[in-house]
């Protein structure tokens, strides 16, 4: 029992929860390449408002910054914190690949081996995949990030 619980609440997760990175909205929401979204977990009411700022890099768009405001449980808070660490500064294509890897880990019902090279602190979420009710918590900010990034990209493309 408490082994399972400890697998869920790994120290890394609790650390990010207590000291979240990049929390607090930053930057000008109306500047070019910026998109902001608001996502809710309908079941529990957890919410995140997340802002993405893309910049043009040498080989295409780059995730210049991600910031957020959120209310939620340890898993959803820690996951937002880890997300920002992983994607800020990365080319959008690479960041999307990280997103995909994290998604696969979460939907793997505990059968997927996490790749530390790609996910860094994100590997701590491997235990979450065994708790179906918590997978949504871990994915809340990731889904918001994908949505915002897609919006910022399309906007950029159309402008």
């Amino acid at each position: 029992m408490s082994t399972d619980l400890d697998a869920l609440y790994q120290e890394i997760i609790l650390d990010h929860y207590k000291n979240p990175h990049h929390k607090g909205l930053r930057g000008d929401p109306s500047s070019a390449g910026t998109a902001e979204v608001h996502h809710v977990n309908p079941t529990c009411g957890d919410e995140v408002t997340l802002r993405v700022h893309l910049a043009e890099g040498p080989d295409g768009p780059v995730v210049e910054d991600v910031s957020y405001d959120s209310v939620g449980c340890s898993i959803s808070q820690a996951s937002a914190s880890v997300l920002t660490d992983l994607v800020i500064g990365k080319p959008v294509g690479d960041a999307m690949a990280i997103h995909q890897t994290f998604l696969e880990l979460m939907q793997g019902k505990g059968q997927v081996e996490p790749d530390e090279d790609v996910l860094e602190d994100g590997i701590a979420f491997a235990g979450v995949a065994k708790f179906p009710a918590r997978v949504k918590c871990a994915l809340l900010s990731w889904m918001a990030w994908k949505d915002a990034t897609t919006q910022a990209t399309t906007e950029g493309a159309s402008s």
Binding site: V40, P42, T43, C44, G45, F131, P132, A133, R134
Partner: protein, 412 residues
């Protein structure tokens, strides 16, 4: 007899009610499966196991029982999606029955004056009255395909009926009165050609034909749990995902929301958008088990069995003097429900004498009054078989019909 299910004896053992005897010790001869099917033990046991060991509310509950219950409920959605060959599990909405599924569409598809809805004269009341009410509310016009004398859709007027103002074409796949199998893919294509939604009522098809929504090419399809060996209290609305997400919400309540304030709310996407409140959890789980049971036996094998029994029944019925079958006489062109008239004896009285011998059939209008009116009859007697029906049961029916004639002294 060709086409019968090979393990019919074994299959019959799956259905505990078939062992029942009725008043006077008569064994049950259940020929009312188009009304509701009997339930295999595995469906009953699955429901009992859920209630005794896993019962909890879904989605909202985060504890172990809640996770088990949610997994079982959502697992049932996967099974139904597979049963229909649906491209996505999100396209399967659980409703109370087929009637609710049809009314959901009739309430949420936007209609207005100048629009029209096209149905057919052989529909079940659920696929008539729902649209009548929608047309009354909206000012749209209700039109319908008539029937030919041999009980098929009369498509001669089709190009005039289905026109550029048509918003919905709603039709049954298999008639519950006449047994007719309709050309659903053609009708769906006709609807698509004018930009109308096609709605297929598969309530009588799903029990006995392989249903593949992609092959039919329709927009929406409904069926009801209790006719496919599942429990009452559960039905299915299948719809193309993008169309479901375009429809406004149906009922407001728990689970269908995204967020709620006193002033306004936003809504979840399909399927949850249309599943307000605590859904029929144990019923969905029972239905999931039922469609798996049918798939395990094989819908093609079930269909062949139904056709063999239907051919045998059509032959037997025609041996009864004064008996007229309503609907197509070719077993390969029809489903397993056979309605008939018997000169000189009212359907109620037929059903009563049959019942005294344990033979259960339906007498009345079978919720298809317009189809009866089309053939100038008030009511009829209907026998309907299913995967557990034996030729001997058909013999018992035919014999009981001969007895009915002599009981009411029809020849004198």
């Amino acid at each position: 007899m060709q086409g019968l299910l090979p393990d019919l004896d074994v299959i019959r053992k799956d259905f505990p009610i078939l062992e029942r005897t009725l008043a006077g010790g008569a064994p049950l001869v259940y020929l009312d499966s188009a009304n509701t099917s009997q339930k295999p033990q595995v469906v009953i046991d699955t429901m009992v196991d859920h209630l005794e060991r896993h019962n909890a509310n879904i989605a909202r509950a985060m504890h172990q029982l809640g996770a088990e219950s949610t997994e079982a409920y959502e697992g049932a959605r996967d099974k139904v999606a597979a049963f229909l060959n649906a491209p996505s599990r999100n396209e399967v909405v659980f409703t109370k029955n087929a009637t609710e599924a049809l009314n959901l569409l009739a309430r949420t598809i936007e209609l207005g004056p100048g629009d029209n809805v096209v149905i057919t004269e052989m529909e079940h009341h659920s696929n008539i009255v729902s649209w009548q009410l929608a047309c009354e509310r909206s000012g749209a016009e209700l039109r319908w395909f008539g029937l030919t004398d041999d009980g098929r859709l009369d498509l001669t007027d089709a190009d005039r009926l289905v026109d550029e103002h048509t918003k919905v074409v709603a039709f049954t796949w298999v008639s519950n009165m006449l047994g007719t199998i309709n050309p659903v893919a053609d009708l769906a294509a006709r609807a698509r050609a004018v930009g109308a939604y096609s709605v297929v009522d598969a309530s009588q098809a799903a029990p006995q034909l392989a249903v593949d929504v992609q092959e039919v090419g329709c927009d929406f399809l409904v069926f009801t749990g209790h006719k496919v060996c599942g429990p009452t209290g559960i039905g299915v609305l299948w719809g193309r995902e993008e169309l479901l997400n375009e429809l406004p919400p149906f009922h407001g309540g728990g689970e269908m929301i995204e967020t709620v304030t006193m002033a306004r709310s936003t809504f979840a996407r399909a399927p949850h958008r249309f599943e307000a409140g605590t859904p029929p959890i144990v019923e969905a789980i029972g239905l999931g088990c039922a469609v798996d049971y049918l798939a395990h036996i094989g819908l093609d094998a079930i269909h062949a069995h139904e056709q063999a029994i239907t051919a045998y029944a059509l032959e037997g019925l025609q041996s009864v003097p004064g008996l007229t079958v309503l609907g197509p006489l070719d077993a390969t062109q029809r489903g397993g429900a056979i309605s008939f008239e018997l000169d000189g004896v009212h359907p109620h009285d037929i059903a009563q004498v049959l019942d005294s011998r344990g033979v259960a059939v339906r007498a009345g209008h079978h919720c298809a009054k317009p189809a009866h009116a089309r053939f100038g009859v008030q009511s009829s007697t209907r026998m309907s078989s299913y995967l557990y029906t034996t030729p001997a049961e058909i013999d018992a029916l035919v014999e009981a019909l001969h007895h009915t004639r002599s009981y009411f002294k029809v020849d004198r």
